[in-house]
Symmetry: C2
Subunit: 210 residues, 2 copies
Amino acid sequence: MPSFSDAFRKELLTLFRWRRDVRHFRADPVPPDLLLWLLDVASLAPSVGLSEPWRFVIVEDPIRREAVRANFSACNAEALACQDSGRAALYARLKLAGLDEAPCHLAVFAEPDPQQGHGLGRRTMPETAVYSALMAVHTLWLTARSVGLGLGWVSILDPAVIAAVLKVPNNWILVGYFCLGYPQEERDAPELESLGWECRRDVTVSIIRR
Amino acid sequence: MPSFSDAFRKELLTLFRWRRDVRHFRADPVPPDLLLWLLDVASLAPSVGLSEPWRFVIVEDPIRREAVRANFSACNAEALACQDSGRAALYARLKLAGLDEAPCHLAVFAEPDPQQGHGLGRRTMPETAVYSALMAVHTLWLTARSVGLGLGWVSILDPAVIAAVLKVPNNWILVGYFCLGYPQEERDAPELESLGWECRRDVTVSIIRR
């Protein structure tokens, strides 16, 4: 029965503090076995009713990758056009995806109504299937960082387009599209903070008692 | 710039393997400072546009707790009634929540349209606000386990009832209701597996290439 040491907890906090949403990648490839190991570790995540509804799509086809890139560009241009005039210039300077350089592209979907798990825990909150896939993403993210890899989450995409580009089953729900690779640099502060887009708040503003 | 040791990675895997959805708690209280520290660590989670949309509700009022318990009982009775005849007896034997014994009740919500973050990353996938709150939940879960605490996720609840019982702002979205406390026992396998409800599969069944 494991108990964790102070030294481990200290490093775990370091991992949380240095985990980043990475958008600047080196070209070095991610060894295929390492990727499969990461997905195996990710599947240790909790899932509602033990349904394991995460679905991992390793995107290798250059034509599909280009279609994803094009969708990002289109969605990002629209998002820029919708910015307040006071923020548009800053928005335009942000690098919001590493789709060009990242050696590995991974789309994560959820099967919203899995047979596995026999529906347990999903009757009143069916969204817990998607939530389970999110737990797998976060597990993968932390594990990746622990081996020196960086993950970048691309949400500036049209989920329907991405599902069509990747030809996944109709009912799968896109949780996120991720870039994976070795980061150009390591940081303990979010780039959005360093570049003046937003800053973190004290957690006490997010706590209420009832 | 931190790099992580093999020893740390090994313990991290142990943490993933021994993190459990706990339904059997000891009565020992969770020190209030420890709970606040856990929430502080949870807020190191990634969030879309650095919007930090997690909202933590520490549920202390015995009357509200009783209302949550009653809602669980009602929802669980309905879920039992909907089971196939072949599974109903097994379902009835499962203990699916530790609401009676857990010393600490925590509801986690997401603010779906936070000012913070200035909308970045949420234009085509607004659900990423909820997803960010899920990342905080998983961060809290792992951290709790690293200090010997157990977390149990209760999803057999009506989210609208819970939001009303807790008198939270109308637009907040319930992500989950959690029991926190010291577990009666530690396990490296899910209780749903040990009791024969479901078993885990090899991750390769959840991977496709495109």
